[in-house]
Each structure stands twice: as structure tokens, then as C-alpha cells.
């Protein structure tokens, strides 16, 4: 956690420093842009974290251990890939939920397969951005090649871990 704070603070300072020397970039404009992105999050994120906490208490943990725990192996990786593909929502919803899954005893290879599948299929993002801008011929091709990525990531983790 401390490392996360330090690394992101360092990056922010470096970028701000570079921007300070760039005459095209004005700090006021940047902050205004940042504020616009931040305001919806300040409301949503705390609510999402609390909701995820409730849901985590409701999920029967033994069930997750059996289907997706470290001992679930390759079938667990395949289930996790499937689950990640149908999981809707951006990072605000998904990361708290995945954290809940991790605490419920989901294994690391299964967790990585889930994250990979969610990142690549991204149902939510496809509907709101990809389909309108790039069209179905692009989307189905990208989805087809994505099918192998999540199980592959899980298997590679299993191998390294």
C-alpha cells in the first residue's frame, strides 16, 4: 500500500514537473479536467466498496473455495475465465468485487484468469464504446482471439506459481 502511494505520487510529480516546462500545458486546465473525472468517482467508489463488502459477506465462501480455490486447478481456471467474461462493469465495480473473491479464497491462477477475461471481453466497454466506434466485424474478431488469452494467462500462472 505504501509502495502504491509512493509510486503514484512520484509519477504525478514527474508529470507535473514536465508539464510545468511545457508552455502548451496549463496547470489550471489539467486540474479542471481531473476534477471532472473525479467528481462522479467520489460518490460512486465509496458506495461500491460498501456494497462489495455486503456482497462478500453474503457469498458462501466454501462454495468459492471448491470451485475456484487453489486446488481447483485447470477446471477452476476455465470457470474463472467464463465468469470474468460475463462480469459487467468498469473497474469501480469490478475491483472491489474481485477483492472480495480473493478474500473468499479464490486461487491466484484463477484470479488472474478472471481478471484477464474481464479486461479483454469487457462487455460493458464493448457496448458503450467498441461496438459504436469499430463495429461488429471488428468486435467478433477481437473476441475470438481473446477466447484463448484468459485460460492461457491462468495456465502460465499455474506454471510459474
Amino acid at each position: 500500500m505504501l509502495f502504491a502511494y509512493l509510486s503514484i505520487l512520484a509519477l504525478a510529480l514527474v508529470f507535473a514537473g514536465v508539464a510545468h516546462r511545457d508552455t502548451n500545458v496549463r496547470h489550471g486546465d489539467v486540474m479542471q479536467h481531473a476534477w471532472k473525472q473525479l467528481t462522479p468517482l467520489l460518490v460512486r467508489l465509496p458506495i461500491a466498496l460498501i456494497a462489495a463488502g455486503f456482497i462478500g459477506e453474503l457469498i458462501p465462501q466454501a462454495l468459492f473455495g471448491r470451485w475456484l480455490g487453489d486446488a481447483s486447478g485447470v477446471p477452476g481456471i476455465l470457470i474463472a475465465s467464463l465468469l470474468g467474461g460475463i462480469m459487467p462493469g468498469g473497474p469501480i465495480v469490478t475491483f472491489p468485487l474481485i477483492l472480495v473473491l480473493e478474500r473468499a479464497g479464490v486461487g491466484v491462477p484463477q484470479l488472474i484468469a478472471l481478471l484477464t477475461s474481464w479486461s479483454c471481453f469487457a462487455l460493458h466497454r464493448v457496448l458503450s464504446y467498441e461496438l459504436p466506434t469499430l463495429g461488429w466485424p471488428f468486435v467478433w474478431r477481437r473476441w475470438t482471439v481473446t477466447l484463448i488469452l484468459a485460460p492461457l494467462a491462468g495456465l502460465l500462472t499455474l506454471w510459474f506459481h
Binding site: 500500500m1 502504491a4 502511494y5 503514484i8 504525478a12 508529470f15 507535473a16 508539464a19 511545457d22 500545458v25 486540474m31 479536467h33 481531473a34 473525472q37 473525479l38 462522479p40 467520489l42 460518490v43 460512486r44 467508489l45 465509496p46 458506495i47 466498496l49 460498501i50 456494497a51 462489495a52 455486503f54 456482497i55 459477506e57 453474503l58 468498469g90 473497474p91 465495480v93 475491483f95 472491489p96 477483492l99 480473493e102 491466484v108 484470479l111 488472474i112 481478471l115 484477464t116 479483454c120 469487457a122 467498441e130 466506434t133 469499430l134 463495429g135 466485424p137 471488428f138 474478431r141 477481437r142 482471439v145 481473446t146 488469452l149 492461457l152 494467462a153 500462472t157 510459474f160 506459481h161
Partner: protein
């Protein structure tokens, strides 16, 4: 969106109270509050960082590097470009549309989007690191590194919808 989360919170909270009583609800609220205190300041710094990065890296610079190239070099550049593209989908998708218009191949675009999804530094710093810690992030990055290239290469067999 916000309404959805409020409803989700109320419904799951009520269900928890009904099934496990007051104490479980208070416990979940406390652990949720702890997470909020840890994560929210980080998100604020991260958004300021991302705003600076977006201001510094104009879209046309990326388009210049990916526009004409295909082959291995194009795929490698696409992987790196996807990893460092700041901003959410509102940044990445207009960029891919621009690349397509400039004649970038399907594999380059798919590699770019896959790298942006899996290796995107901004998302890793903003979300993954605070939630899962360094060890997990490094392991996931290690196994994800070859995936954008694999996706790009595999997509070559599917035909390019624009070049028929």
C-alpha cells in the same frame, strides 16, 4: 451508474441484515470504511497524474508511430503504446478509430487494444496495486506480457474486414 450502486448496496445490506443480523452489517460497514480510507486518496492522486499524462501525450504522436507499420515492429510498438496510453476508453477508442482510418492493420489494432486492456499502466497503478499489492501485480504482468502479441498474431487468420 450511481443509482445502480446505491440500489445494490441497499439490497445486499438488507439481505445481509435479514440473514445474519445487525452485527454482520456493522462488521461489513467497518471493513468497507477501512478500504475507503485507504483507496480514495490514492485514486485522487492517480487521477491528477493521469490528467497530466493526457495533457502531455497528444493523440497524434501515437498515431504517427502506429499508422503505417505492420509486422513485428508494428505489433511491438502497439504493445508498448497500449501499455502507456493514459485515460479510459474515451481515449483509447477514438485512437483506434483514427489508426484504422490511417490504414493500420487489424492485428496492430487488436494488439494495441489487448495491451491497453491487460498492461495499461494507469489502471494498474490506480486500481490493481492498491487492491492486490505488488507481488500479485508483477506476477500478472509477467504472464500477460506475451498475450497482446499472441492476440495480434492469432487475428491474422481471421481476415481483415477492411481490406477485402
Amino acid at each position: 451508474m450511481t443509482v445502480f450502486f446505491i440500489i445494490l448496496g441497499i439490497v445486499s445490506g438488507a439481505l445481509l441484515w435479514y440473514r445474519q443480523g445487525n452485527e454482520a452489517v456493522v462488521q461489513a460497514l467497518l471493513s468497507g470504511g477501512e478500504l475507503i480510507v485507504l483507496v480514495v486518496p490514492l485514486v485522487i492522486i492517480a487521477i491528477a497524474m493521469a490528467a497530466y499524462a493526457q495533457a502531455l501525450l497528444p493523440r497524434r504522436v501515437v498515431e504517427h508511430w502506429l499508422g503505417r507499420n505492420a509486422g513485428w515492429r508494428g505489433l511491438l510498438i502497439a504493445t508498448a503504446a497500449g501499455a502507456i496510453t493514459p485515460g479510459g476508453p474515451f481515449m483509447a477508442f477514438p485512437l483506434v478509430v483514427g489508426l484504422r482510418a490511417m490504414g493500420a492493420s487489424l492485428p496492430v489494432c487488436i494488439t494495441y487494444l489487448t495491451a491497453w486492456s491487460l498492461l495499461g499502466l494507469q489502471r494498474i497503478l490506480m486500481w490493481e496495486l492498491p487492491f492486490f499489492g505488488l507481488d500479485f501485480v508483477l506476477l500478472r504482468l509477467l504472464v500477460s506480457l506475451p498475450l497482446p502479441l499472441i492476440a495480434g498474431i492469432a487475428s491474422q487468420w481471421l481476415g481483415d474486414p477492411q481490406h477485402r
